[in-house]
């Protein structure tokens, strides 16, 4: 009985790992196609600098996709950590009329399909841009599809995630620590910078990493807002969908898996409380 159960769990984890393994393994196959048979080990899909085996680090479009993804993810994570921290203080510390309603409003973006977030922001930004153009004959490039809109689109739901992560930590904060600091003579500002924010630091870093990862892999919202500077997921999708696959995509996949895996583990370690060990 238990034996059968274990077999089922094992089968599930094989199911979980199989596509990831197949995506990663063919990055090292010395063949022009990501398929069997195995033609021997190579690193040229990473570092090869000549056609037809052009490695990912020499593929200009992939590298620029990586670059844009990185820029977008950094902006999204910085901004959403800021919004999330403000929201955490707002909803944990403050009392104001309609608080429950606003709290629901804060959560709602997480249950709106990403595609809808993308098109709604596209619609608003475009009509604003059209309005400016028609009324004032002024072209605001920022409101046309591009990096700026992609960042806004990703913030729209990532801010909810960071708010929840940081608010959960702030709820655990023992408010008497702030009183103790005040009692020892600190000003309100000093209390914030020396006691409260250091306490939140681990959650802020973890939330930032999560936001970075969410942004990096986002597709649905980005798809509608992207301009000429395509982030990596869009570039890769175009290749998979339209061009057909070469092992260079496996190389990118492997690279991303290792990168996001490391970051995910890092975020888990950052959040682990050092005092919780005792």
């Amino acid at each position: 009985m238990l034996w059968g159960y274990r077999a089922y769990v094992l089968a599930f984890f094989i199911f979980l790992a199989a596509p990831l393994l197949s995506a990663a393994t063919f990055a090292f196959n010395d063949s022009l196609f990501p398929a069997l048979p195995w033609q021997g080990f190579t690193l040229s899909w990473f570092f090869g600098d000549t056609e037809p085996k052009l490695g990912m680090f020499y593929d200009r479009r992939l590298i620029s996709g990586l670059y844009y993804s990185f820029i977008i993810a950094v902006m999204v994570s910085l901004l959403t950590v800021f919004i999330g921290t403000c929201n955490a203080f707002l909803f944990v510390r403050k009392d104001f009329p309609g608080k429950n309603f606003f709290y629901i409003l804060m959560i709602v973006p997480l249950v709106i399909p990403g595609v809808i977030l993308g098109i709604s922001i596209l619609v608003l930004a475009s009509s604003a841009a059209n309005g400016l153009e028609n009324q004032f004959n002024f072209e605001l490039e920022l409101l046309r599809p591009g990096i700026f809109l992609v960042v806004l689109g990703q913030i729209s739901f990532t801010a909810t995630i960071t708010s929840l992560v940081i608010a959960a930590k702030l709820k655990k904060f023992d408010i008497t620590m702030e009183e103790a600091a005040l009692n020892l003579g600190a000003s309100t500002n000093r209390v914030l910078w020396t006691v409260t924010l250091p306490f939140l630091r681990s959650a802020m870093i973890a939330a930032g990493i999560v936001a970075f990862l969410v942004s990096f892999e986002n597709f649905n919202t980005t798809l509608f807002l992207v301009g000429s500077e395509s982030p990596l997921t869009i570039t890769m999708f175009d290749r998979v969908h339209k061009v057909g696959s070469t092992p260079v995509l496996n190389a990118v996949s492997f690279f991303l898996m290792v990168g996001s895996g490391l970051l995910a583990i890092l975020s888990i370690f950052v959040q682990r409380d050092k005092s919780a060990r005792n």
Binding site: D174, T176, N183, L184, T194, N278
Partner: protein
């Protein structure tokens, strides 16, 4: 040299209401320099509110708080020279011991070298000279306690407030820390205000204790006064153990009052407040177990001396606790009475079911109008 008449803290007619609940009701007291003052009361009696008003975290609705003679009502909490040890200590987990203690000095802008000196000095005084670099979570419960006191004392406060800081410790450590806190107070020679719901903490450590109930001070006095000469039924019941009855005064002869309890006993008592001498006045009476003498019944006809209470009863059970052993005796009216028994006095073989007599004098019987 501390002036023996100097007053460190004065509270005058302090009141505070939280949404229709009167938390602190017209409380006045003053505390002389260098004394250990405890506020003892059941949870919810308003003692925490009172101490938070002194620290400045709450504003009183009315009344006046003076520290070293100067009003602090308009002083922000971070400007008052009153330091506080919190219930769960509130040590900062993101700083090590040294940084915790240096925190207040840094806020004051003290020079780095002086901070160093003063922190090391205070660590020496609490006998933990080498823990500066330790993280808070590496300390034991007792060490944390001392660091929390040191963090305040390094700032030379006028008054140190302690909000049930021993509550989270286990029993054995709590006993040790009681003595330690008392010694620390002597060492620093600073006024300590200690609030607790644990009477043994208050009685052991304090010079003066205030008993607080429902927002009011019932009585302020030395531990001995509170124990032997309570001024109200609440204090008599709250401080120390006691057996209690409620009843009606039937007859007074001089100082002695005869009371008929609600369950039908007739007891002699000495009224502790004036009003209870009135006849047919409802009264509460208290008798501490250590003042009840247990005798094995041999001679039924033994004379009751004047002013003595005598009850016959049956031993219900024995509560053995070394020198503090007690007998639970069932009275004729079916009430269980606690009485101390002296193990060396021939009671080693006392058994449940034996007939005994309980004897105590009317001077030991406290009586209050209800």
């Amino acid at each position: 040299m501390p002036d023996s008449t100097a007053i460190d803290l004065e509270c005058i007619n302090i009141s505070k209401t939280f949404s229709d609940v009167l938390a602190v009701d017209d409380v006045s007291f003053d505390i002389p320099s260098g004394s250990f003052f405890s506020i003892l009361g059941p949870s919810g009696c308003g003692k925490t509110t009172l101490i938070r008003m002194i620290a400045g975290f709450e504003q009183p609705d009315s009344g006046e708080i003076r520290i070293k003679g100067a009003s602090v009502l308009n002083t922000a909490p971070n400007k008052r020279n009153v330091k506080m040890v919190f219930q769960h200590l509130a040590l900062f987990p993101m700083m090590n011991v040294y940084e915790n203690i240096a925190y207040g000095l840094r806020c004051r802008g003290v020079a780095k070298q002086e901070i160093d000196e003063r922190v090391n000095n205070v660590l020496d005084r609490i006998a933990l000279p080498d823990v500066g670099e330790r993280e808070i979570h590496q300390l034991s419960g007792g060490q944390k306690q001392r660091i929390a006191v040191a963090r305040c004392m390094v700032l030379d406060p006028d008054v140190l407030l302690l909000d049930e800081p021993l509550g989270a410790l286990d029993l054995k450590l709590r006993e040790a820390m009681k003595i330690e806190l008392k010694l620390l107070q002597h060492q620093f020679d600073t006024t300590f205000i200690y609030i607790t719901h644990d009477q043994s903490e208050a009685l052991v450590m304090s010079d003066q204790v205030a008993i607080m109930n429902q927002g009011r001070f019932e009585q302020v006095g030395t531990p001995q006064e509170l124990y032997h000469n309570p001024q109200s039924a609440f204090v008599a019941g709250f401080v120390g153990d006691s057996n209690s009855w409620s009843g009606t005064a039937v007859e007074s002869a001089g100082e002695v009052l005869k009371v008929k309890t609600d369950d039908g006993l007739e007891l002699l008592a000495m009224p502790n407040d004036a009003r209870s001498t009135d006849r047919s006045q409802k009264v509460s009476i208290f008798i501490r177990p250590e003042f009840i003498q247990v005798e094995r019944t041999r001679d039924e006809s033994e004379n009751t001396q004047p002013g003595q209470n005598r009850l016959t009863g049956i031993v219900d059970s024995l509560l053995f606790n070394g020198a503090n052993s007690r007998a639970l005796v069932r009275s004729p009216t079916d009430q269980l009475i606690e009485a101390d028994i002296v193990l060396t006095g021939g009671f080693e073989d006392l058994k449940p079911g034996e007939d005994v007599q309980l004897i105590w004098s009317c001077e030991q019987t406290m009586c209050f109008s209800a």
